[in-house]
C-alpha cells in the first residue's frame, strides 16, 4: 500500500482545489459544492491517519463531518432558494449590501 504521505498530499491537493473554487467562483451553488469538496478532503486526512495509527476515532470523526455536511447542505440550499426568490439570481456579487 502507498505511504501515508501520499494520502495526506492528495487530501491537501483536494482541499486547495476546493479553496480555489470557493474563492474564485461566483455561482453560490458551486461555492457550496467547493465547500463540500473541502470537507471531503478533510475526511480523507482523518481516514488516512486512522488507517496509519489503527485508531477508529478518526473514522468516527468522519461520520460526524458527513452529518454536519448534510445539515450544511440543507440549510445552505435553503438560503440559496430564499436568495433566488428575493434577488432572482445566485450570483454572489448581487448580494453585496453588507460589503464595504
Amino acid at each position: 500500500m502507498v505511504p501515508l504521505e501520499h494520502v495526506i498530499a492528495l487530501s491537501a491537493i483536494l482541499f486547495t482545489i476546493g479553496t480555489l473554487g470557493a474563492l474564485t467562483r461566483r455561482n453560490l451553488i458551486v461555492i457550496l459544492m467547493s465547500i463540500e469538496l473541502m470537507l471531503n478532503a478533510v475526511n480523507l486526512a482523518f481516514i488516512g491517519f486512522a488507517w496509519a495509527w489503527g485508531d477508529l476515532a478518526g473514522q468516527i470523526m468522519v461520520l460526524m463531518v458527513i452529518t454536519v455536511a448534510a445539515a450544511e447542505v440543507a440549510v445552505g440550499l435553503g438560503i440559496v432558494i430564499a436568495m433566488f426568490r428575493n434577488r432572482d439570481s445566485v450570483n454572489v456579487e448581487d448580494v453585496s449590501l453588507l460589503k464595504w
Binding site: 500500500m1 502507498v2 501515508l4 504521505e5 494520502v7 498530499a9 492528495l10 491537501a12 491537493i13 483536494l14 482541499f15 486547495t16 482545489i17 476546493g18 479553496t19 480555489l20 473554487g21 474563492l23 474564485t24 467562483r25 461566483r26 455561482n27 451553488i29 458551486v30 457550496l32 467547493s34 463540500e36 469538496l37 471531503n40 475526511n43 480523507l44 481516514i47 486512522a50 488507517w51 496509519a52 495509527w53 489503527g54 477508529l56 476515532a57 473514522q59 468516527i60 468522519v62 461520520l63 460526524m64 458527513i66 452529518t67 455536511a69 448534510a70 445539515a71 447542505v73 440543507a74 440549510v75 440550499l77 435553503g78 440559496v80 432558494i81 430564499a82 433566488f84 445566485v90 450570483n91
Partner: protein, 167 residues
C-alpha cells in the same frame, strides 16, 4: 507496485480530475455537480483501500446519493440561465487569496515527508460496522446524540428558509 497502490493512484487521479472539472466548469452547474459525484465515488474507493469500509458505503449513500442529488434538484428548480454570470470586473483580492492558497499547498507539500508516523498493524475487522458501532455507542455516544439535535435544527432551519410566507 502492488495492486492496492495502483488502485490508489487511479482513484487519486479520478478524484483530482473530478474536482478540477467541478471547479473549472463555468457553463453548466449540473455538469459540475456530476463531476463532484466522480470525486465522491473515487474517494469512496480510496476509503476501501484504507480499511474504512463502512465509511465508504456511507460516503456513496449520503454524499453521492443524497447531497449531490439535492444540489442537482436545486439547480433544476432554479432553472438558471446561461447568461446569469457575466464576466465580472477584475477582483484583486480574489486572486490574491487564490495564489495564497496555492502557495500554502506548495509549502505544505514541501514540508510533508519527514513528520509522518509509521503505519501500524490494525486489529481484525478494522473499520467494519461491528467495531465502528461499538466505538460510536460507547466512547462517542455524547457527540452521536448531539448530532440528532443538529439535524433537528437543520430540518427546522431549512423548512423556515424555504417557506414562502411565515405565519
Amino acid at each position: 507496485m502492488s495492486v492496492e497502490a495502483l488502485l490508489f493512484y487511479v482513484f487519486a487521479l479520478a478524484a483530482v480530475g473530478g474536482a478540477l472539472a467541478m471547479v473549472m466548469n463555468v457553463r453548466n452547474t449540473v455538469a459540475a455537480a456530476l463531476s463532484l459525484v466522480i470525486t465522491m465515488i473515487a474517494l469512496a474507493g480510496i476509503y476501501v483501500l484504507l480499511h474504512a469500509h463502512l465509511i465508504a458505503v456511507v460516503q456513496i449513500m449520503v454524499y453521492a446519493g443524497a447531497i449531490v442529488v439535492v444540489f442537482i434538484f436545486v439547480v433544476m428548480l432554479l432553472n438558471l440561465r446561461q447568461d446569469a454570470f457575466p464576466p465580472g470586473r477584475l477582483r484583486v483580492f480574489k486572486w490574491v487569496g487564490a495564489s495564497g492558497a496555492l502557495w500554502m499547498l506548495w509549502r505544505f507539500l514541501g514540508a510533508l515527508t519527514p513528520h509522518m508516523p509509521a503505519v501500524q498493524e490494525r486489529a481484525e475487522g478494522f473499520g467494519g460496522y461491528r467495531q465502528l458501532g461499538r466505538v460510536l455507542f460507547t466512547d462517542f455516544v455524547l457527540p452521536f446524540e448531539m448530532t440528532s439535535l443538529l439535524l433537528l435544527a437543520a430540518i427546522v432551519g431549512a423548512v423556515i428558509l424555504a417557506k414562502r410566507r411565515i405565519g
